[in-house]
Amino acid sequence: MAGKSKTIKVDYLARVEGEGALYIRYDDHGVHEVQLKIFEPPRFFEAFLRGRDYTEAPDITARICGICPVAYQMSALHAMENALGLMPTEPLRNLRRLLYCGEWIESHMLHISMLHAPDFLGYPNAVAMAKDHPQVVQRALEIKKTGNALVRLLGGREVHPINVRVGGFYRVPNREVFQALHPQLIEARILAELMVRWAAGLPFPHCEQSYECVALSSPREYPMNEGRIVSNRGLDISVQDYEKHFREQQVPHSTALHSVLIERGAYLVGPMARYNLNYPQLSEGVRGLAEELGFKAPCNNPFKSIVVRCLEVLYALEEALRLIDGFQAPDEPYLVAEPKEASGCAATEAPRGLLYHRYAINREGKITFAKIVAPTSQNQKTIEDDLRLMLPKFMHLPEQQLQGLCERAIRNYDPCISCSTHFLQLHLQHEAKRNS
């Protein structure tokens, strides 16, 4: 009797904040192998969401990341609402956008000032940089504080907010509380403009790349929570069709899955992709400043992503002001839905890029399936391609400088593999030297 085939399949989402390593094999003729190794153990979020109530998904998935928990909450609740047929009202929609503004500000400023800026100014870390450039760090921390205040106000606390729920919010603050943030936002906007000007004056390695940029896009606004998924090479799909065009694949050197476009391979998500695809949706003020400084989209030098992040922070502050000024209290803090057997998906724009969630729930509202595709796994292949294409131009550099440049190239992506500015074990292997 033929044995019945059985398969044990454990889906996992390897989160990558933690340890990473880079392996590059090259010789005088070129680069032969680049591996961004992620060996952080899988965290099994997709597996342990199963059996939990659909209402728990936003809070459970928020724990995936301490830097961008709002992004996980937003993608989770939009996916659940998609499954249940809930449509957030305009006031609720605006409040979610405001919360997302807070997270972009927090996350981008942390990366810009504490992780990325020391690379450009030649310091080993932010503390060393702050001794000589205290104003840069002070400004960044002031701006970040404003982002924290927005997240605290709407989310209940700064990290891992607790006020978000499927259908809306547990509680909505009143107009006066929002208005009290107005002066702080105005002040932060002034500082953010100074940050853009400062970042635009940094020295950038010459490194123009040719990316397939992928981001949400909407005729209505610069994307955060909604839109179609588009690219600069003709992709234009609804979020529901995401899995028809994108595939995750396993590579031996990484516990994080690599995501590829089925038709074309590697692609770029994140601030540069959003910027390149949605430049006209930025405010006139942000576009004006970008153009004055010579940073009009498209931007295809990953080292210049620090400028794009600064511009996105400026935009998020302007947007937060607009939303606060136009604040309308929702009739109810949340919409109610009866659980039913259904499935739904959503993508939102996390600070680091497109974040896709899909869930299935049963008629009791228990999750039977979860799939989460994080931005870092989508960018992982592109990071390796960046290194492969960039290195031949810099082979003349001493090994230590080359190593530093490789680390910088990875930090351009603000990957969640990084727990520190110096997270990499780098193995540069020169074939000729090895064989001699």
Binding site: G66, A126, P134, E142, K144, E158
Partner: protein, 161 residues
């Protein structure tokens, strides 16, 4: 007649993760102190976000409540450190998101002229920081002893009974 000056409020800050066993001793202690001190102090559950702390603690009197590992002292013991005067041992330097630790936060505070006026660290020796939302018995009783010491310290400092 000269008015008696109001004592400056302390900012009590917990570090650590409630869901990592004894690492949750800081938040545990903060909850207990909050219920006793109520409006007489400010409270902040900081997780491990040191960057935010640098923005919050400037010119304040700050008490940090945290878990610590020690090779020399048994779990539940209290280690007190003056954060501005003493050398902070690596074991007290909790690693935060993106690896920004307490010692770096103090160094950053110095560079930015954003230090607290006083920084008292109450660190309780931990035993087990695996996943879970409960403290080991030794750490729990250590936290309760630390609470008494901290309340006595604050009372002596503010002159309030």
């Amino acid at each position: 007649m000269k008015q008696k000056e109001t004592p400056e409020r302390w900012l009590l800050v917990s570090l650590g993760n409630r869901f990592r066993g004894d690492d949750g001793v800081g938040p545990y202690l903060l909850d207990r102190l909050r219920s006793q001190l109520k409006e007489n102090a400010d409270f902040l559950e900081s997780g491990n976000d040191m960057v935010t702390l640098v923005g919050r603690w400037k010119d304040r009197q700050v008490c940090l409540l945290d878990a610590v590992f020690s090779d020399e002292q048994p779990s539940g013991d209290l280690i007190r450190v003056n954060g501005l005067a003493d050398v902070i041992a690596p074991s007290v330097c909790t690693t935060s998101s993106h690896g920004f630790n307490l010692r770096e936060a103090i160094d950053l505070g110095k560079a930015l002229d954003s230090l607290p006026r006083r920084l008292e660290i109450f660190a309780i020796c931990a035993q087990n920081i695996t996943c879970g939302d409960h403290l080991t018995a030794e750490v729990k009783s250590g936290a309760e002893r630390a609470e008494q010491e901290l309340l006595a310290f604050l009372q002596a400092d503010t002159g309030e009974s």
